[in-house]
């Protein structure tokens, strides 16, 4: 009986103490007609050896390609220490720190994480993670509706240059509460959200403006102008940012005159493997005045009976287990372990290390773009400066070219036609610090061959 320790003697002793004849008797309150028959889809159990061999074969099947896809998930070097420590039983197999005295390890780690994220984003406070960047945006939108006292609207302005997957998830989640996401077009030349595009909405009642930096195309928005415009129009500013980029870029807390109000984003770049899309973690920060509207767990520092410092869950009156239907969100289990990994990662990188990572990503992507646009018929689409992704136009439909590249074991980027019909011949490419010169060359060579 895998993972079940009971011997026949144990079972008999336990049944005797209960006063039951058989285990089956313990289910005697269940109406007989409800009892299940045999399971069918499930095969016979395997040993650990067999299950491991099976999964190792499957993992091998998918491995080995050279990947230039970003589009919201980025391959970075992850120091070995990160997951060797994060998977220590004490972190890996603990529950949510409800018994604070027996969970100081997790609690202090979260407090450090909160400090870290507040410093990286330039905000006052952080929660202990939400599911991911996309669902984080939906929480931010709902939070903005609660927080913006100046607005009565259930509408939020969302540029088309914001990650379409974030927009879709936010719509799927928030539309249940009749929230409307109103699109703002991007400038066809720069790929940015321009004041001109926003002007159409000036004076309208919106609860918030979402600003993604860098935007989905990798471009750097004029966040200062956008932020100030939103605040001038009584909107809160929800920043969606890439944490790696913050080692280089103005933190949302310093955008424009007053800074962003709520900051969310995908925490994956901070030490979390690509892993097919999860577990990652969404981070969420805000200004002091909005803390009580923030969803998710928050840790506070306090003292014990003897005055010694310690950490505990706080502001629980925002949460479902206390406030039930009046909670800020239904979130309960979050992405704790990934957040723990990120805290270790950021500590290992430090400010200079993270900046060096960001700089290498930027430089590698620039080099890749130069190499690829040297190929006939390939050009860069947008004029805006980018962080570590860029949009390239191909002489043929992107889907077709990407499929041909995949046959050469090169995953050549994200097909923008999936979300932007007008960009059906465009790919979004990314080269992080993990790509070396020969990788970039391999891509260029393969593309040349495919397009020849």
């Amino acid at each position: 009986m895998p993972y079940i320790p009971h011997t026949e003697d144990d079972v008999q002793a336990m049944l005797a103490a209960i006063g039951a004849d058989s285990i089956e008797d313990l289910f005697d309150e269940i109406p007989a007609h409800l009892k299940a028959g045999q399971l069918k889809a499930l095969p016979e159990g395997l040993s650990e050896m067999e299950a491991t061999a099976l999964m190792a074969a499957r993992a091998r099947q998918d491995a080995g390609a050279l990947c230039f896809i970003g589009a919201g998930a980025y391959e970075h070097h992850i120091p070995a220490a990160v997951w060797e420590i994060a998977t220590r039983g004490e972190f890996y197999t603990a529950y949510t720190p409800y018994q604070a005295e027996a969970s100081q390890g997790t609690l202090q780690t979260i407090y450090e994480y909160q400090t870290l994220m507040a410093r990286l984003t330039g905000m006052d406070a952080s929660n202990a993670s939400v599911y991911d960047g996309a669902s984080g945006l939906s929480e931010a939108v709902l939070m903005a509706l609660r927080a913006n006292r100046k607005s009565k609207s259930r509408r939020v302005l969302v540029p088309r240059s914001v990650n379409p997957r974030y927009r879709q998830a936010t719509d799927a989640i928030c539309s249940n509460q009749d929230v409307e996401l109103v699109e703002v077009v991007f400038d066809a030349a720069s790929g940015l959200t321009t004041p001109a595009a926003l002007a159409a909405h000036a004076g309208d009642d919106f609860a918030a403006l979402v600003i993604q930096q860098p935007n989905f195309f990798g471009g750097l928005e004029d966040v200062h102008a956008l932020t100030d415009w939103a605040h001038a129009n009584n909107m809160l500013v929800i920043a969606v940012v890439n944490p790696t980029s913050l080692a280089l870029l103005t933190p949302p807390g310093e955008w424009g005159e007053q800074g962003a109000d709520i900051v969310v984003g995908e925490g994956q770049p901070l030490g979390v493997p690509l892993s097919s899309g999860g577990p990652y973690f969404g981070f969420m920060c805000c200004r002091q005045q909005y803390i009580r509207q923030m969803p998710g767990r928050i840790i506070g520092r306090t003292v014990d009976l003897e005055g010694k410092p310690g950490f505990t869950l706080t502001l629980q009156a925002r949460e479902q287990h206390i406030r039930r239907s009046k909670a800020t969100s239904n979130i309960c289990t979050n992405q704790g372990l990934a957040m723990t990994a990120a805290t270790i990662y950021a500590s290992l990188l430090g400010p200079d290390g993270l900046e060096a990572v960001a700089a290498h990503c930027h430089a590698n992507t620039r080099t890749l773009v130069a190499k690829l646009t040297a190929i006939d018929g390939v050009s860069e689409v947008f004029s805006a400066p980018v962080f570590h992704e860029a949009v390239l136009r191909l002489p043929r439909p992107a889907a077709e070219v990407l499929a041909a590249l995949a046959e050469k074991n090169i995953l050549g980027g994200y097909d923008l036609g999936r979300d932007y019909p007008e960009l059906a011949d465009c790919v979004l490419v990314c080269a992080t610090e993990t790509r070396v010169e020969s990788d970039l060359q391999a891509y260029a060579k393969a593309l040349q061959e495919v397009l020849a």
């Binding site: 039983g89 027996a102 400090t115 509460q177 004029d222 913050l246 309960c332």
Partner: protein, 493 residues
């Protein structure tokens, strides 16, 4: 004589300007490399991350980790949380480089291995729950609930059945249930629970009507007993045109024994981080797949894994135009799902059934033995499911010792405390869930500890108020924490 108390500094307090874990950073590039980025968009001050050495980081977080209770170290009978053994084999399999390195947007040609695992997991989950369709995308139980209730809403809307504005929820329900209903735009109406832990059927009947979108419940309930009137409840809700939602947090109790689909539920979420033994990671990640009956299949959240001949492929909103859509950027907590897949493969058909059996055996044994040493069961007439409720209301009244005091004292006995003060309807309660992976000896040690603590409560109640005594900190001041918010460390000047 205690020497130095090993107080744990913050990682930020260990920071020194210019220190670095140099092996981890790429070589610095000349600023020239960044010339493309406009100065106005560059940050002016370095972010205040810690500047520490690699050894400092390793030592700091290794030491921090030791300040946690965990399954790998202690018995952890948190009711409603299913803290069972998290197989290390599942961790190794999910951390294979081929899985860790796969980009979520990799083409299907480079994803067949991963997709095969996910497809099979979908099939397994249908089988054990008796549902007709499954989506793996929800990232935790609460997101599964969200998906489920959003599907109920989408279903009614698709039928233009517009007047359904209310979700019914038994008062014992978990907080995520009402919070979810509200996130889905519903009003919540609570339904009372009987003295024996079952739903008050008359009250339910009275509450049901054309405004009823559905009922959310778990069975066995969070009272730790199997809801015996489930047929009648299903009939009542369905009769009123509502749908039945199953909160799968308690699936461990009946895994393989009773299938929610057979009980009449239309939609269900599963907490794989409970029933399927994936770890809790100190708060997450989890995974909350949803299963549905035939009529809700069109609404499942995307993406889902489909199979064309021998090829696996993603089904997305193109294939499922009525889907409630994407709830996150990609496909869910893949790494957690791989762990659950491993677990399902190792347990197999027979193993699944044993889970419900042995977790129920352990709970009933523990309940009976605890009653024998003087603990008060909330529902003494009932069988325990995989968990059960004790109440310390009389101890609180007579000795001034609360459930919280007993919980804290348990830590001194190296036992994690059960869930306290949940569900809210039973005063001074413990919800105790031993799981099937703990030995009888471990249960007996818990019983011994409880017996000693009950004696302490009688002899020296004041001492219990001071517990715990053996942890890195004594009892913490939660009021101060909330009143004088200190959420982010600021360097003292």
């Amino acid at each position: 004589m205690s020497g130095k108390s090993i107080d744990q500094q913050l990682i930020f307090e260990l920071s020194r300007p210019g220190r670095r874990a140099s092996a981890q950073a790429p070589k610095a590039l000349p600023q020239q490399a960044l010339a493309n980025i406009p100065a106005t968009l560059r940050r002016k001050q370095k972010p205040g991350l810690p500047e520490v050495s690699e050894l400092q980081v390793v030592r700091h977080y290794t030491n921090l980790s030791t300040r946690n209770f965990a399954i790998d170290k202690q018995f952890y009978p948190l009711g409603s949380c299913t803290m069972k053994y998290n197989p290390r084999g599942a961790n190794r399999a999910a951390m294979l480089p081929g899985f860790l390195g796969r980009h979520p947007l990799a083409p299907e040609s480079h994803s067949q291995g991963f997709l095969a695992c996910m497809y099979e997991l979908q099939e397994f989950l249908k089988d054990v729950t008796g549902m007709q369709g499954v989506s793996l995308t929800p990232m935790a139980g609460a997101q599964g609930e969200f998906a489920g209730v959003a599907m109920i809403r989408a279903y009614h809307e698709a039928r233009q059945d517009d007047g359904r504005t209310e979700i019914l929820i038994p008062e014992a329900a978990h907080g995520t249930n009402p919070a979810t209903a509200v996130m889905c735009g519903y009003k919540v109406r609570e339904v009372p629970v009987n003295r024996d832990g079952d739903v008050d059927l008359e009250a339910l009947k009275a509450a049901c009507g054309p405004q009823t979108a559905g009922l959310m419940m778990t069975n066995p309930s969070t009272c730790g007993v199997f809801e015996r009137q489930i047929d009648a409840i299903a009939k009542t809700v369905h009769g009123a045109g509502g749908l039945l939602y199953y909160d799968g947090a308690n699936l461990n109790a009946i895994l393989g024994k009773v299938r929610p689909g057979d009980m009449g539920f239309d939609v269900i979420h599963m907490n794989l981080h409970k029933t399927f033994a994936t770890p809790h990671g100190g708060g997450g990640p989890g995974s909350g797949p949803v299963g549905v009956s035939e009529r809700l299949k069109p609404f499942l959240p995307t993406p889902i894994v489909g199979k064309d001949g021998e090829q696996y492929r993603w089904l997305d909103t193109d294939d499922l135009p009525q889907s409630i859509g994407h709830l996150s950027a990609f496909m869910g907590n893949a790494g957690v799902l791989l762990r659950a897949y491993f677990y399902a493969r190792v347990l197999g058909r027979e193993g699944m059934i044993r889970v419900g059996e042995y977790s129920t055996l352990a709970a009933n044994y523990l309940l009976k033995r605890l009653q024998a040493i003087g603990c008060t069961a909330a529902y003494p007439e009932r069988r325990a499911s995989h968990e059960f409720l004790l109440t310390f209301a009389s101890e609180a009244r007579e000795l001034g010792v609360t459930a919280m005091d007993i919980a804290k004292r348990l830590l001194d006995y190296n036992q994690h405390a059960p869930t306290t003060y949940f569900p809210l309807l039973v005063p001074e309660c413990f919800l105790i869930e031993p799981t099937e992976t703990e030995t009888k000896e471990t249960l007996d040690e818990f019983i011994d500890a409880m017996e000693k603590i009950l004696a302490e409560a009688r002899e020296n109640p004041e001492m219990l108020k001071g517990a715990p005594y053996t942890q890195p900190v004594r009892r913490l001041d939660d009021v101060k924490a909330a009143r004088e918010l200190d959420l982010v460390w600021k360097a003292p000047r």
